[in-house]
């Protein structure tokens, strides 16, 4: 999995460079690119729309404050942003809060839906199509996992549960959970490897 230098990603890094230089408009443009994804992810975790709005605003504020020191300008801007949004969302709900319905909002319900991101100079039509295809592949890959492997992955990613907490939740041993997490993630890696370059 390597990082590509095709134009959408180069454009995202250029946006980040402008953010580092203090150009507020660039932050708005980054929101145009990924605000939809960020809000969708926050909504899946924190549930309440106004809470999700606060979380996304906090996440973009963090981008604004710390872009210069993050190293993201040399890497994957979208992955960095989604990691911030997820972290902020889990912080918001309490990282170990039990909330069994979070993963209901995830993959299995969303295959085939449109990705609500606005088009602009950075988010080209080609980029949107690529994003949509990647999204569909991720959803199908998750949906094709054995149910128990998908469940442990979703509990970890969307609910922020530790392996021990997942084991408690599912009445499994911690060893079983660690094996299932690894197996599920490894299958995803094999299936998504061809798409990783386009996502990065």
């Amino acid at each position: 999995m390597t990082t590509t230098t095709d134009s959408p990603h180069s454009a995202e890094r250029a946006l980040l460079a402008r953010i580092i230089a203090g150009d507020e408009r660039a932050l708005g443009e980054l929101f145009d690119c990924h605000g939809g994804l960020a809000f969708s992810l926050a909504s899946a975790i924190v549930s309440d729309p106004s809470d999700a709005e606060d979380v996304v605003a906090d996440a973009f504020a963090q981008v604004w404050r710390s872009a210069a020191t993050s190293g993201a300008v040399r890497g994957n801007v979208r992955a960095w942003l989604t990691a911030i949004v997820r972290s902020r969302s889990l912080d918001f709900i309490g990282s170990r809060r039990r909330r069994p319905r979070a993963f209901d909002r995830a993959v299995t319900l969303s295959v085939g839906a449109e990705t609500p991101v606005a088009s602009n100079s950075v988010t080209s039509a080609g980029h949107l199509i690529e994003l949509s295809e990647t999204r569909t592949a991720v959803c199908h890959s998750l949906a094709s996992l054995p149910h128990i492997q998908r469940t442990v992955l979703e509990l970890a990613y969307f609910d922020g549960l530790s392996r021990t907490e997942i084991a408690d939740r599912l009445l499994e041993t911690s060893g079983t959970v660690r094996t299932r997490l690894r197996a599920g993630m490894e299958k995803l890696r094999q299936r998504l490897r061809p798409l990783a370059d386009s996502f990065s």
Partner: protein, 276 residues
């Protein structure tokens, strides 16, 4: 080839599914293995793609403006050089101040000159403010650099204890509460390291102190340490010659430490007895 349990930990690590102690132990291993770092980088890419699996929800139309508006009120860490240069360039050329033709010895500038004077004073104030901000940023960066060096030295010291053929460990647990720790004893290097988590904040004027206790002997101080805001504490220290540590313990003591424990240990744990 990465051992299977390490790959399992790597998966849980990128998903944030390790317990605190597991995470600390994994990060120590991660710091030392380029192969493990590559594994984690690849898994992070896959984990990052999971965000695409959520049901799409359109953000409220006001959110974009809120974010941009908030950004205007907060300066990013990097100095806004371009902006500063643009603003600091003299908007008003300071022409020679025309003086009134007055017989008075004291001549006062006219309205335009007052404006120019006010502009120059404002400009001076802005530049002084920016100088202060940059000096403050430089100081903050210097402090951050110093903190990073200290942290790196601390990690190196911890790693020095963990690496060796003769390292034993003890799990330190609490009778009450969620505090815990992992204590490592490198017999060859005669050093110990403790990685503790969920320690409560100590009161002002007090500190945490690590003890090594040999069977039938009074506790021996191995050093004092403080915790981060998250309750994480680390210490690496030398073991006095001849001390055969059977039990490790942590107590809260007055700042500077005590010759002997004055409080009940918050965490303690025994090293496995060594076959003779």
């Amino acid at each position: 080839m990465i051992p299977r349990d390490r790959t399992e930990d790597a998966t849980a690590y990128v998903l944030g599914a390790l317990e605190e102690q597991e995470r600390l132990a994994f990060e120590l291993a991660l710091n030392d293995s380029a192969e493990l770092q590559r594994e984690v980088a690849e898994l992070r890419e896959v984990a990052g793609m999971l965000a695409l699996a959520v049901r799409p929800v359109a953000p409220p139309p006001t959110l974009r403006e809120r974010i941009v508006s908030d950004a205007r009120a907060v300066r990013p860490i990097a100095p806004r050089l371009a902006d500063a240069q643009r603003r600091e360039s003299p908007a008003t050329s300071l022409r020679p101040v025309p003086m009134r033709a007055s017989p008075s010895r004291w001549r006062f500038p006219d309205g335009f000159a007052w404006s120019a004077l006010a502009a120059s004073l404002i400009l001076a104030a802005v530049m002084q403010n920016r100088y202060r901000e940059r000096a403050s940023a430089a100081t903050a960066l210097s402090r951050a650099n110093s903190a990073l060096r200290t942290d790196l030295a601390s990690r190196d010291s911890l790693l020095g204890v963990l690496i060796g053929p003769d390292v034993e460990s003890a799990r330190l647990t609490a009778a009450v509460g969620s505090a815990s720790g992992l204590m490592f004893w490198n017999r060859t290097a005669a050093r110990v390291a403790l990685v503790a988590s969920n320690l409560p904040a100590v009161q002002k004027g007090r500190t945490w102190q690590l003890w090594g206790i040999a069977a039938g002997r009074p506790p021996v101080s191995l050093g004092t340490f403080n915790t981060s805001a998250s309750g994480e504490g680390r210490i690496a220290a030398a073991v006095p010659p001849g001390l055969r540590i059977a039990i490790g313990a942590v107590t809260q003591e007055p700042a500077g430490g005590s010759p002997q424990p004055t409080t009940t240990p918050i965490v303690s744990g025994a090293f496995a007895e060594r076959p003779r």
